[in-house]
Amino acid sequence: MLDQRVLTAIADVFGVAPDEVNLQSNPETIPDWDSVGHFKLILHLEEIFGIRFPADEIGRLTTAGKIQEALAGLGVLP
């Protein structure tokens, strides 16, 4: 299951309905998830969770699931 806060963040940043967002969501399935959109999402998540992703990781966070794993790795998600 995708964490509710991650799901809401993706829906808010890209302006899509929450029920269209799941663990597999990625730039192919969400139209506004381009390179600029990706940074907007990352900055938004950093603000919500109070963390900072390392620079070399940001480019690899290419699906909602990978984002969730990275947040778990930073200790803010189970």
Partner: protein, 582 residues
């Protein structure tokens, strides 16, 4: 904001680094202030091409504001990469960059003459290869940024439409480590952190609001635990915290900053619950009070509710409630004023007096920002105090207006706009809402252009009386429609001289000038707004003939050969060349 209507203005962003994310921050900040503006950001580092290509999208968008954000780290990239190479001539490097900027600014202004341009001061990372060598050796980076910023200031003073956003100060205020996010720089070519973008957006909109005159005019203050610590009615004058040591100094320094606001033309007033004699004793005699009785334009020291007192202050000072800021340490009083008078800005206030001064400076940067100081600004408080004396005189003249006018001993200096008076004339067109028949807003550049135009005349009037010199309080802009017909584009009076027949003097003087120029008709219009009802009957009262109404706008005509507007004989007119020359 009407759906489907084009936005009121476009803001263009030109930059050396990526501002795509900043656009969102700026949009949010504009929305907060209900500004109907569209933002267009060019690709980063394209500003040269944008400026020199007349067919670029920049010009197609016709922006009213152009933000030229040239980052120091980009402008001086070569120097920063290898600051030890040879002995760098800092003044030459700064001068070259400034000359280049001036050339680009000229290209921009040639194609967009009426746009407001915002330049940014530059800063470098505080730690760099020359740390240690700086100040001990000829090697220096700080000299480059300082010199370049001096050049930017000179550009702004040379071009009235050029504003400077002091991003160097903004970055220092939030701290460079918070300002610069190296990840965003490496991955997205963006030199601002998320926090920096928010601060920059807020600063940009504050600057534009100050430029448009949308700032607050009056700060109303509580006394106990606001201007000093403790309650004077209980602790006595000796017992309150106010002095040169400890927390007493926090109150004294807070007062210093309030006094500085007053010196810049912000009106101060008191609204407090105290015994008046206790409070006045502190104002008059406490050795550490920086603020004295005559620094306040009006006082309400009593036990009535503060909302009622604020309403009275608004009417006494002749200011709309949306010009007021109210500072009070008590959450209950803040809540009351907020709910009774939503137009008044009531900021949350820190519990700790040590934070009062910085809270005031934060507030002033957003709501009380001044970009220039006029003579009128400097003298504003004393003018309000003189107005109080005038009111006493009027009350004692028991309704006989003519004897009141005569006893004021008014002198009006009248003349055409010149370099001394243009800044104040522009300021009056920006700020005057009440006695203003058309409410047309003009920048200094607009006024200068009008004053030089062959078919327009810009007149201004300065009024003094036995109590004070009010400075320039009246503006009249006339445009020639045909050989014999002139149109009153603008006619306004500062609210502080309403009800003293100054309008008769100004229009009377203008009629004389026009008759000398063989004019036959003077046409005026009244454009109603939510604030200018006081001027609704102006043309009728001056003897103009109604020409009808269209879409709420009434049109009036004065046949100058048959009727003239008399200059009241209780106002002495000085139209000598020297009258308004300094």
């Amino acid at each position: 904001m009407k759906a489907g209507a084009p936005p009121e203005m476009t803001i263009a962003l030109l930059s050396t680094s990526n501002l795509r994310f900043f656009v969102d921050s700026l949009r949010q900040e504009l929305r907060k202030w209900k500004w109907d503006a569209e933002i267009w950001a060019s690709e980063f580092n394209q500003y040269r091409q944008d400026i020199w290509n007349s067919a670029s999208e920049l010009y197609a968008r016709q922006p009213k504001v152009v933000i030229l954000q040239l980052d120091g780290a980009d402008l001086f990239m070569d120097v920063l990469r290898d600051p030890l190479s040879g002995c760098i001539d800092c003044s030459a490097a700064a001068q070259r960059a400034a000359d280049d900027l001036e050339t680009h600014l000229a290209g921009l202004q040639e194609r967009l003459p009426s746009a407001t341009v915002i330049l940014h001061t530059v800063y470098f990372a505080p730690l760099h290869a020359l740390t240690g060598l700086e100040h001990h050796s000829p090697h220096t980076l700080s000299t480059i940024s300082s010199l370049f910023n001096v050049h930017i200031g000179q550009l702004s003073r040379k071009h009235p439409n050029v504003l400077v956003h002091d991003t160097a100060a903004l970055a220092a205020n939030i701290g460079y480590r918070n300002w610069f996010d190296p990840r965003l720089w490496y991955l997205a070519r963006c030199r601002l952190s998320q926090e920096a973008m928010k601060a920059l957006a807020q600063g940009t909109v504050s600057l534009l609001r100050a430029w448009k005159g949308q700032t607050r005019k009056c700060v109303v203050l509580d006394l106990d635990n606001t201007l000093w610590g403790g309650v004077v009615g209980e602790d006595g004058m000796e017992g309150i915290a106010l002095g040169e040591e400890g927390i007493g100094l926090a109150f004294a320094e807070f007062q210093d900053e309030l006094l500085n606001l007053m010196r810049k033309g912000i009106i101060l007033a008191i609204c407090s619950k105290n015994n008046e004699e206790d409070a006045l004793a502190v104002l008059r005699r406490h050795p550490s009070m920086r603020l004295k009785e005559d620094h306040f334009a009006a006082l309400r020291i009593n036990w009535r509710d503060k909302a009622a007192n604020m309403r009275e202050l608004a009417s006494e000072l002749n200011l709309a409630l949306d010009s007021f800021v109210f500072i009070d340490d008590s959450p209950a009083e803040r809540t009351l004023v907020r709910s009774e008078l939503p137009e008044v800005l009531v900021p949350e206030w820190p519990k700790d007096p040590a934070l009062y001064k910085s809270a005031l400076l934060d507030l002033a940067t957003v709501h009380l920002l001044k970009l220039s100081i006029t003579e009128e600004d400097r003298a504003r408080t004393s003018m309000y105090l003189a107005e109080g004396e005038r009111r006493t005189l009027l009350e004692s003249s028991s309704g006989n207006l003519e004897s009141y006018y005569r006893s004021l001993e008014m002198t009006a200096k009248v003349g055409f706009a010149n370099s001394f008076t243009i800044p104040r004339i522009a300021q009056l067109t920006q700020k005057t809402n009440q006695f203003n028949v058309t409410t047309r807003r003009y920048s200094e550049a607009d006024i200068r252009a009008l004053s030089e135009a062959a078919d327009a005349l810009v007149l201004c009037l300065a009024l003094s009386d036995r109590f004070s010199d009010n400075g320039i309080v009246g503006v009249m802009i006339l445009r020639r429609l045909s050989a014999g017909e002139w149109y009153i584009d603008t006619l306004l009076l500062s609210c502080r001289v309403i009800g003293r027949t100054v309008e008769n003097a100004l229009v009377g003087f203008a009629s004389r000038i026009l008759i000398d120029r063989s004019a036959e008709f003077l046409i005026g219009e009244y454009h109603p707004t939510s604030k200018n009802a006081v001027a609704a009957n102006l043309y009728r009262d001056l003897g103009f003939q109604p020409m009808g109404e269209q879409g709420g706008i009434t049109r009036w005509k004065l046949p100058l050969r048959e009727r003239s507007v008399a200059i009241p004989d209780w106002i002495t007119i000085d139209s000598s060349k020297e009258a308004l020359s300094a």
